[in-house]
């Protein structure tokens, strides 16, 4: 591993941290357009962050150290995940810290800390949000694992950089029908994991329908800023996992020069633009499900992924 590889490792991480709010802003803008509202500016999330960082933290009287440290831990899990996912280049020294399965575990760590923090202040909404978030969590994990299974069957590896290399060297792998099922299932998991419609509504103001938002109700100031940032990073990370598994074109391979890397960044931004618009469209044409309909949605994702697996075993081996 060369020094440039380490430089890229840090660079990619910083790129993710910097781009994640922009991506969230883009999705918000597209949603506003689709809903005939006047859109907030693209950099609105940065403004939100700046405002929140400047504000004092209003901390509940009986909040413990867990409540105060959870935003940092949640933010750290998302940054570490961003360092592991090859969004720009596969030449990442730290990508081997965790394969795709371990990455799911890293996300779970973030989720558990968030839920614990929500229970710490001891309000009705906090624990309600924690319970719902954990419910969505245990429904998405089997589906996500089956998606990774199908991907593993097709690519022969759960290490994400390796997946990219395999696909870029043999592009015809992407024609496998099993991957189509897996991709659809992955999108459904992405929606549920990132508290998007139809499972949760990120812009809701109605506490009783909240899942993710109700866990952040007691947070303010820099803590809230970190949590918001972490949520945007999570969406960004999931999008990048999706790109790695299902459309890795443009990602720079091991030993690529600066020109190719610049191209890779361009490709990433282009993919994010398309994905963000698609996400906004998807969210605009679906209605929020009742909470106990969410399991059906996620069972559907699970079954699609299993179908992908069976299709692979029956047709593609």
């Amino acid at each position: 591993m060369s020094a440039t590889a380490y430089a890229w490792q840090v660079g990619e991480c910083l790129l993710a941290i910097a781009l994640a709010p922009l991506f969230a802003g883009w999705v918000g803008q597209c949603r506003a357009w689709l809903q005939n509202r006047s859109a907030p500016p693209l950099w609105q999330p940065y403004r939100v962050l700046r405002k929140l960082f400047h504000k004092d933290v209003a901390l509940a009287t009986h909040a413990s150290w867990l409540f105060r440290s959870a935003p940092y831990v949640v933010f750290a899990t998302m940054v570490v995940a961003a360092a592991i996912i090859p969004s720009v280049t596969t030449d990442l020294p730290l990508a081997r810290v965790a394969d795709a399965i371990a990455l799911v575990g890293v996300f779970a760590t973030g989720r558990v800390f968030m839920s614990l923090a929500a229970m710490d202040v001891g309000t009705a909404f906090g624990s309600m949000g924690a319970r719902r978030e954990m419910m969505i969590g245990f429904l998405t994990e089997p589906a996500l694992l089956m998606v990774l299974f199908s991907a593993f069957m097709a690519f022969g590896s759960t290490a994400l950089p390796r997946v990219v290399e395999v696909v870029l060297r043999q592009p015809h792998i992407m024609l496998h029908p099993s991957l189509f099922f897996a991709a659809v299932a992955f999108v459904m998991v992405l929606l549920a994991e990132n508290a998007r419609l139809p499972v949760d509504n990120p812009t809701t103001h109605l506490e009783l329908t909240m899942i993710h938002e109700s866990m952040t109700l007691e947070y303010s100031g820099r803590h809230l800023a970190l949590i918001e940032w972490a949520a945007w990073l999570k969406l960004f990370n999931y999008a990048c996992i999706g790109f790695t598994l299902f459309m890795p074109w443009g990602i720079a391979l091991h030993g690529a020069g600066p020109g190719l890397l610049a191209l890779a960044i361009g490709a990433l931004i282009a993919k994010l633009v398309v994905a963000g618009a698609a996400l906004a469209l998807l969210e605009s044409i679906t209605a929020k499900l009742r909470l106990f309909r969410a399991p059906e949605f996620l069972t559907m994702a699970f079954l699609l992924a299993v179908l992908g697996l069976l299709v692979h075993l029956l047709l593609e081996v």
Binding site: T61, M134, M146
Partner: protein, 670 residues
Amino acid sequence: MNGIASTTALTALLGLIAAWLVLGALGLARPNSIRWVARTLFPVGALIALGVAGAGAVALTAHFSAQTAVLPLGLPSLHFHVRLDALSGFFLLLLGIAGAGISVFAAGYFRAGEGTAPGMMGLQYHLFLASMALVILADDAYMFMVAWETMALSSYFLVVTQHRLPEIRRAGFLYLLMAHVGALGILLCFGVLQGGSWLMTFDAMRGATLAPAWASAAFVLALLGFGAKAGLVPLHVWLPEAHPAAPSPVSAMMSGLMLKVAVYGMLRVSWDLLHAGPWWWGLLTLGVGLGTAMYGAIFAAVQTDMKRLLAYSSIENIGLIFAGIGLALLCRSFDMRLLAALALAAALIHSFNHALFKSLLFLATGSVMHATGERSLGKLGGLIRYMPWVAGLALIGSLAIAGLPPLNGFVSEWLLLQAFLQTPQIPHAFLNMIVPLGAAIVSLTAALAGYVMVKFYGVVFLGQPRERALEQAHPAGWLERTGLSWLALGCVLVGVFPQVALDVVGRITGQLVGATVQRGPSPWWMTPLASNQASYSGLWLWAGLVLVVAATFVLVRRFYHGRVRRTPAWDCGYRWQTPRMQDSAEGFGQPIRHLFGPVFRMQRELPLPSDPQPQYRVQIEEHFWHALYLPLSRFVLRTAERVTILQGGRLATYLLYSFLTLILLLVWVL
């Protein structure tokens, strides 16, 4: 040289076990003195446990060869045989490391005036430890059964420490009954295994050739016998009754250690004494294991008693361990040795991990009970402010048991999932499609375990105290904290250096499977399969998380500020909130009750909206009680009643029976 080291290891082990027994007997010298028994003898017991762990570790070194000895104990022609090899060494290591932590904790935990006299309890406690070590060392069926029964009986007496409470006596009886049903299975299994030679040494059993049908019979009997002890569904019913009934260090020993001794027995019989069998052995074990895992996780999520919750969580973890064993058996029957080694390694590491974090959590509940006098989740809450040490250490245990990286629970679950990923290669057109779906159950179980642990930790330690009295909760003493810290340290170390754990269990898989999973060429990552397939590094993950947390903290302080204003909780502007408005344990389990409704036998009383004093009550039971155990016990009682007709109490009738029997025998002989 090497031979000397290994024989000394075995001798030292026997000496240490004898020392445990002496220690137990010494407690009787001043049976009512807590100072003498708990504060003096238990720490010595912990040191002995460390010695046992050390001797077990010797058996796991690279050039160790199995050592045997014959003890001049037992019946005249049936001397006790002992043997130390990699498998028994590993389980002794587990016993010693977790046992040391539990003993240190127990030294600070036991109080005067709680049930049995301290001296008696010390004797039972050390007898329990020693008998577990002897089960692991036994090399003949006779000694195995003697030690096994000693283990069951000593733990029974520990369970009924508070024997004045009728429900504890009932739990103890149920435990004793199930322990003996299991022991019967094991005894019959050994009876089959000796294969007509009537030699009871394990060596003879290894050499015996059994007809396939008999081998299968032995396997099923072993699964029943050891499964009853380990808590496989549907033989698990004693576990959620007996574990909560015992004092917390004893619950920790039973859950953390005794269940692992059952796992050891299963491994010994199915991998060492029996040769490779048909694939359905593996599928059966895998199916039972996965079913148990999910069942335990679902029931843990709806419990309202913290120790029952942990007991169900033990059932879940035992299920995962047996799933690993089953997968390994399945792979062995298709001669996929490396994959078998991987699955077995996952099962072994998970056994070790479970011994650490489940002991830790049971001990933490002990501290909570001593500090508050409460076991019910509905009356706890907010203890993180009154018991910061216990809360911090229990957090490590909870995160570890939830299978979260970078702690140890994740390592074994990751290895198990990696093994499942390879199962489509099984050369069987039906199994290669059905077995991979097991991975979904494993991940569902792991995610449910996360749910359970958020509930456990959140309701006990976080939020606001649900009762006034909790504000007087006092922190745990230093001995308790030391014991907890020791176990938490183990959780962290296995999580950070999973490669070492993989190396250690590699000796066992080498012995049992003939293949070893390599940790990979790099000192930093663990790459158990091909280096480009999958990798994981606990150390780097820790480093990354700590680095980012520190950097974020410093940067936020540097560029902005660290001002904090304390205010009452906002709660969306609702001013009249009380601690009772937090989720109760029942409330937190509601999504699970809703989603898995048919699994439970549920009785619910919902209040009407117009009730002036609304009361909500929900009672959850297992279907197994009403569908299996109660009919069974009714059947036994009915049969017994019929049989009593024979026993009318009149001497003349009994003489008639003898006479008729004699006549019949005469007819038969002639």
